[in-house]
Symmetry: C2
Subunit: 400 residues, 2 copies
């Protein structure tokens, strides 16, 4: 079994093409992208848990229930197509035109949007752009990665070349994130392609596991959006025997998919609005997984912890405080907290640590916080960004 990180993203999968154009939805960058599969696919998706969903999410959720053979994915930035008056009309116009241009059925088109909420989507711009989008399809997904960006400052692409006992397959993905990134999926889009030979059911299961261990474990500001979507499709062209149950290759594939999602998720945290550092909080020794998760989320979402990390201060007091109000079950007398490798809190009080050493550690770009509750065997981890002046700047200056 071999795994190799390779250049590129969704187009590392043969039969997958992509394109992007500037359609005038944003100020001056590619803003509509298209993914196209020349071959039939199986696919799966997970969506935002926000009770208020954008029109494309509502459309896709219904569509995915039909187990469609998705051949095209159309995504725009600049407008979320949510809470407006022409949402479903816009989706219908886009999928109709896409199907027509590609000679496929409307039910073979998946859609997604990201950007401002509440404005009507000027979908005629996207419809017009589809001429160009379908004409310029190629094996280069770099334009697509740009087209889905909003306040992102860099493209998020990742791809793996995998081999399972000589059977080669590929996984590639692009994502966008930046603001409003929270566990439970937040203004975050990710599109993943693969050619592994797998049934719809098993692909769906693999995606849910991978998302739970990656995109659902990151936090930028705790808000969840109306548009979050992670989509995967497989052309099933790889030479492996079709995965129909949780066998060894399923495990191998799911681990690699998790790895890919994790890398995209970490890029999202790194590109969190105004983020200067990425921190991993690992909780071990919890009585239940729920307790471990409560504590990890409480720390990851604490503004005081986030600002302390921005200020490069080993403020274990704020970490302990966040554990205290997490509602998780723990005993302060059995709990230990490490920053990096240094024990900073143990058994109810500050540990006797070398402050200069921990202060130097805080200057790293990646920080690790370990909480050992010492009362069980359950664990949870999360990645989160710090809170800087620029977070405030970006979000206060962004105007409707």
């Amino acid at each position: 079994m071999k795994v190799k990180e390779v250049k590129g993203s969704i187009c590392v999968v043969p039969s997958i093409e992509a394109s992007a154009v500037y359609a005038g939805l944003t100020k001056k960058k590619l803003d509509v992208g298209l993914i196209y599969s020349k071959k039939p696919t199986v696919s799966a998706a997970v969506f935002t848990k926000n009770a208020i969903k954008a029109a494309p999410v509502i459309y896709d959720m219904a569509l995915m229930k039909k187990l469609p053979d998705i051949r095209a994915v159309v995504v725009n930035s600049g407008n979320a197509n949510a809470c407006n008056s022409n949402g479903s009309e816009a989706v219908d116009a886009i999928v109709t035109k896409t199907a027509e241009k590609l000679g496929i059925l409307k039910e073979q088109v998946f859609v997604a949007s990201t950007g401002i909420i509440g404005e009507d989507l000027p979908y005629d711009k996207i419809v017009s752009a589809l001429d160009n989008l379908t004409f310029t399809l190629s094996h280069n997904a770099s334009g697509f990665a740009e087209a889905i960006m909003t306040t992102d400052t860099f493209k998020k692409e990742y791809a793996l070349d995998c081999s399972f006992y000589g059977k080669q397959f590929h996984i590639g993905g692009v994502a966008k994130g930046a603001g409003m990134i929270h566990p439970n999926m937040a203004t975050m889009l990710a599109f993943i392609t693969t050619d592994i030979n797998i049934t719809h059911d098993m692909l769906d299961r693999a995606l849910r596991e991978a998302v739970n261990k990656s995109f659902n474990r990151i936090s930028v500001d705790g808000d969840t959006s109306t548009n979050d979507t992670v989509f995967i499709m497989s052309t099933n062209e790889a030479p492996n025997e079709k995965i129909e149950n949780e066998n060894e290759i399923y495990r191998f594939f799911t681990d690699q998919l998790t790895q890919l999602c994790n890398n995209l998720a970490k890029m999202i945290v790194k590109d969190g609005e105004g983020a200067t550092k990425i921190t991993e909080v690992v909780v071990v020794g919890a009585f239940s997984k729920k307790d471990a998760e409560l504590i990890a989320r409480s720390i990851a979402n604490s503004l005081l912890v986030k600002t302390a990390i921005f200020g490069e201060d080993p403020n274990w007091g704020r970490i302990v405080d966040a554990i205290g109000y997490s509602q998780a079950y723990f005993s302060i007398n059995r709990m230990k907290v490490f920053i990096g490798d240094t024990l900073v809190f143990a058994y109810g009080r500050r540990a006797d640590f070398d402050k200069t050493k921990v202060e130097a550690y805080m200057k790293n770009n990646e920080i690790k916080i370990l909480v050992d509750l010492g009362i069980g065997v359950c664990t949870y981890n999360m990645w989160f960004s710090d809170l800087s002046y620029d977070y405030v700047k970006i979000n206060a200056e962004y105007h409707t």
Copy 2:
């Protein structure tokens, strides 16, 4: 029945005296304060819900169960006396010396601390200061209000002169807040005095109601601290017949106490670290009170809403988004959102409003957001601060 706002705070109550000194716990301000009652009292207190509690909180919680006749309250800033190695030893030294100096019992002394977590409390400084503190007791509480401040930028004092069918009584309070202010009580201290004639049980009930409608409805940054305490004591000297049940004067007193707590709570929000504006979110028409509260808290704690308010942008999309992930029961098709008097969202989409007018409204120092869910009769309201550059500055530059 008359109510008049008057100058001063805890010392508007006859028989209550206060003092403050600089004991060297902070850089250069009064940092230890004392309240003394020349008369016996009944008292009540509510404490932080954080599972990790500071030594004075643990001490006071046990003390209050004995229904003590509290005569003295000693408070220090600069050190939270939490998660350290000498917490209970420090509390014992302080109450012992206070009792000795004032000729009262140890069990008549209530203590509180605020400041940095995890450092040993240099309690000898407080013990030494008690000579001076007891010597300088007077009817001026202004020094005490300063002594409990940490990152607060102004003193928080409020007092009411009340008359119930000719029976006069007083209520006065001081508070400190600033960072880490969240519903459910956060690094927040408040000390309230009154002379109303009331039993312990009814005073306790009145305090809990007042706190639930005031201090528990404010949010600065969502963190709750290890030290939060709201304390009230009454000298019972007012000429009213002793309140022993929920009669008319109980109702009147509790309403005025709520009013006082609300004013102190709003001062805390206004002084939220880096706050430039104070916003009230009011949720009406909810199916249950819990739903109304979930939505109010979700909006009040949303960083995106807080930064939009700092940026003076009427970003109803972020409000709607926060409603969406609140976990509350609502229907987007029946819901309306107002900013000030302007309907900005109704029935699933942006309302047709005059953006210039709402943008002008956003320049006010007090903003109101009204959410009408249109499916019930339950309500909830909260006060919260915006999120500015200065919040990040204060919390990133604050070093352990």
